[in-house]
Subunit: 231 residues, 2 copies
DNA sequence: GTCTATACATGGATAGAC
DNA sequence: GTCTATCCATGTATAGAC
């Protein structure tokens, strides 16, 4: 079930190039046609659906093709391998997540409120579709195992951290970037942990309480880190 | 690759029975012989090794048999299915983890110190072998996908929460159990999140700093929750 | 660029000798 | 209780018609 030795298409771009990430283009074709682009996207979307149903361990190219309403051969025309397709999905997921966060946290008054909104937003996004969260974790772990794709896991992390940094930065302009970064890390760690708990032992009421607790704890941490402006 | 319809051996015991968990015994045999027990354990240990190498997606019964130095037929004599074996590993892992935590947190002076020790211990355990941590997450997620095994993921969570409760309880005897529970949840969530970060974007120095930050935040949370005794 | 058909490998599981 | 040999389903990927 492996063809790792020459998993080209995953190593082609070892560093984040531009921002339309995950473009493991079809062999020797950079400027893909209008329709091809649509099919690519249908494939990615179909893979996501199939992953929600089956998980990374259960996924097969046939199921993907079926969900995407595309034939098996077509899949392999657009993606060098199943792995390449899976990684493209991970990339899409990460971008989508960071985007959602940015949209959700506009206009806070002060840092405390900002922390609160960020965490509430993080949680809402996760709660809205826990199935996708599972997929995200599965794919991230899978990337760690896949030759030449570990950097994708790191980028997932970097991007999401950055989205948090940006949210906080506006309300702690005097503070050193490093302190902000530490807050972002703690916030993200906390939310990830709560999501994991919700997945393993579902109990929405408990998790929402945990988010409240986390908010309080992070506000306290921000103080410890000296992020609050004097009033 | 699936035979879910009748994954007996996983549904036999839907509730935690006794404490020698994960005993999906060989068909119609409760009192297994001395040697059989050894082989079972070799198989579990071998599976763990194989999982560290390959991950859940890459694992095969053949690789397991090889690592355990056992023949393929023997594997299926002891375990009804690959899934049953995998779940037995998850159980072992969980028990081992809780055990390690208990050993590591003896004799703190007060709650603040206890929180510190618990988190330091949690982290040391994880840092000592990150490879196993990955496996633990993979297996927990896998359990969620496996028909009739989702309860195993929940038990993982319950057991580890309980280990934390026990550690804290001694230093907050007056406090309501619910407040202690909330602290445990927050602590675990935070650590899990940090481990996840370390896996996705390895940087031990950063993670150790994150643990320090988490300690401070959790001590603050304990205060918010009214867990500290008046001095 | 998309489809059909198929090659080829690999996996889980079992039968039956020992 | 362990081993060998094998069945048979399923998977990824490709070849080549359209």
């Amino acid at each position: 079930m492996r063809r790792e030795q020459e998993s080209r298409g995953l190593t082609t771009s070892d560093a984040p190039e531009a921002d339309d990430a995950g473009q493991e283009a079809a062999p020797a074709r950079r400027r893909a046609g209008r329709k091809a682009r649509e099919t690519r996207e249908r494939l990615i979307e179909g893979t996501l659906l199939a992953l929600c149903d089956e998980g990374v361990t259960g996924i097969t190219t046939r199921k993907i093709a079926e969900k995407a309403d595309v034939h098996l051969g077509t899949l392999h025309y657009h993606f060098e391998s199943k792995d390449a397709l899976l990684m493209a999905v991970l990339d899409t997921l990460g971008a989508r997540l960071a985007q959602q966060l940015r949209l959700g946290v506009a206009g806070s008054r002060d840092l405390d409120e900002c922390i609160e909104r960020v965490l509430e937003t993080d949680w809402i996004i996760a709660e809205r579709n826990l199935a996708i969260q599972i997929v995200q974790y599965e794919l991230t772990l899978y990337a760690l195992r896949t030759e030449g794709a570990a950097w994708m896991a790191r980028r997932q992390y970097d991007d999401y951290i950055k989205a948090h940094d940006d949210a906080f930065a506006g309300h702690a302009s005097g503070a050193p970037a490093e302190a902000i970064r530490r807050l972002s890390q703690a916030v993200m760690a906390g939310i990830d942990g709560i999501i994991l708990q919700e997945l393993a032992a579902p109990d929405l009421a408990r998790s929402r309480g945990a988010v409240r607790d986390l908010i309080a704890a992070m506000q306290a941490l921000a103080r410890t880190l000296g992020l609050h402006r004097p009033r």
